[in-house]
Symmetry: C2
Subunit: 417 residues, 2 copies
Amino acid sequence: MPTSVEQVSAVMRVCNELKIPVVPYGTGTGLEAGSVSLTDGICLSALSIEGGICEVNEADFDVAVRPSITRKQLNAHIRDTGLFFPVDPGADASLCGMCATSASGTNAVRYGTMKENVRNLEVVLADGSVLHTKGEGVRTRKSAAGYNLTDLFIGSEGTLGIITKAVLKLHPRPQAQAVAMCHFPTVAEAVNSVVETLQVGIPVARIEFLDDVQVAACNAYSHLELPVMPTLAIEFHGQNEAEVSEQAKFLGDICAGNGGSAFEWAVELEQIEKLWTARHNAYYAALAMRTGAVGFTTDVCVPISRLAETIVETRKDLDEMNLKGAIVGHVGDGNFHVILPVFEENEQEMKVVHEFSDRLVRRALQANGTCTGEHGIGVGKIPYLQEEFGPTGIEVMKSIKRTLDPNNIMNPGKIFL
Amino acid sequence: MPTSVEQVSAVMRVCNELKIPVVPYGTGTGLEAGSVSLTDGICLSALSIEGGICEVNEADFDVAVRPSITRKQLNAHIRDTGLFFPVDPGADASLCGMCATSASGTNAVRYGTMKENVRNLEVVLADGSVLHTKGEGVRTRKSAAGYNLTDLFIGSEGTLGIITKAVLKLHPRPQAQAVAMCHFPTVAEAVNSVVETLQVGIPVARIEFLDDVQVAACNAYSHLELPVMPTLAIEFHGQNEAEVSEQAKFLGDICAGNGGSAFEWAVELEQIEKLWTARHNAYYAALAMRTGAVGFTTDVCVPISRLAETIVETRKDLDEMNLKGAIVGHVGDGNFHVILPVFEENEQEMKVVHEFSDRLVRRALQANGTCTGEHGIGVGKIPYLQEEFGPTGIEVMKSIKRTLDPNNIMNPGKIFL
């Protein structure tokens, strides 16, 4: 539990010399076991580094944070500035950890993922040297200076270095917000509404999909009475109510044209929270379909033109394989999750679950997609990464890894073997 | 002049074996001599690769192009789809070349730079192997799979490989457009208007600054009668005229609050073109201040909070050093250029010009800025890159270079020595 960057650096120098594996640990909220120790070695908690929120530059819309700061803590701290940090994975994760896993969430469709929201990183490398990925202190909106090291570390899952500070981009908090829910006869009609929405450039803040099983689970868990149909939950952000209404009117027309129901609609914060309850609690609602079960979550992402067929075939698989699973997705980005409540001690069941997951990933790859939209590779998706990138891509990644970490001490066994 | 990726690959295999330097050449429109050959070796024109526009995926807002396609050709080709590619450096550059130099332009403030607009790259590496930076065929909006190789090649200026195909993100073409010009008593008041505009989240498509010298040069060159004052040229994009008017009204109030003139205003395409003439021809107008001169251009970028002081001090330097120079900038991004009409054969003059440029870059670096917002490092900015990144950053870049190009045959002598 080092308290300073100097201490992290000193620890790394020793570990590198003695070839001791180091697993960086943040809030431990990642879903792909990125912070699990697979070998002997040390676990280095980055949360103990002192400093917290180092600086807020309101006029430049940026902020520098140490690993101890989570996304909710940051947003609470800057509430009075009129700015906010948009990236919102399910957990209240460490922001530096979110850099390491290339996190995103429900409003990436408008505000981007971590990759689009980081200006600079401070990283302690395997040999203990301290790298500023954009040069020390640089925090411009853009740059064409040298190799793009910042984005090399975003999504590196602790295998290239320990992120000890992140300079993040902030956004103006919307002056007006509204939320709508819309129910569709079929998955295809819901997804087509999303495509048309993006096509006309309506800047929706969130556009989330819940399939009928997920809606039924949410009804049961959150005591709601939503129609048990494929559903879109949409959030609008704007400078004023007129702008938000305009966006909603446009989108209402698009949804109606695709057989969608009239909007259930909310503009007051309290109502908005209530409507989002179903989406926020989707994971727990899905788990509650089987008492005592734990969650197994998939994370494929495909081009939007392939999304409807991918979801339909996934549902077919679930039904044919007799698996209970709910589908929920960041459909504006083509990313969706299947949440399966499972009993891990049941080997036969887990075999079927893994077969289902395997079919799903292969289907996504065949549809020009990726095995992970936002959770990362961690341990379980190593074989899929190889399939997705092929030997040349994997060899380039490995060669970078060998260069920056010749003793393979940084989170070994993650991303690739 | 290879006609296929296989030929590029075969050429690279031979050159790598024989250690022959290879300089990739696109449209040759870069401003930092990235495509100039410094040593013996071959110049490989990527423009001859056949294929042009390989595929357009309208529903997914993406397109795949070979190096022969320029940004204007692409936009002409997809005119009927309702989509467009926004990144617009001054020249009609090759899109693959724009990837290599991490280009941006006037509307990056809304649509981002190349970094934000590429989904996948095909790259022939130094050893002839063919890399797909996101895996072959993958073209999702987001991904958390493995190291972010795409962004490693964006801005690598031909030193890591030859970009032979780019999968680019497209955007819905705005249904309504408007342009406004506004004149300010001081630079600070113009820049403050930009900060406030971003703060309230008005999604301006372009917000360009011209200083009084630039305005005077434009008046002379384009036969205009603009007030010779610090000026903002602003473009609004929206789904309809109401939205555009709303944005303009907001911004008009902000400018008025900072001492700005009433908007000169245009909504018809022809009028818009006329108002943008001043900005489009800024470079040639600045050159015309001295008959027979050629252009010397700077490219610093700073956080917006430091922009006004940086521009004011730069103007002071120009005046005190008795240099003719016009200032024009993508102020929404904190990026501005000084265009100096120079006589390169005048050694004494060039010494002063370089001293001016040096002071400017150092000032930008001290203001948490970068030596290049969008033109790249090429040859001339190598010392500044070292200053900006320090020894650790440069060593990380060099180690990646050595790994991917152990014989240093890819565009040697660019970015670093």
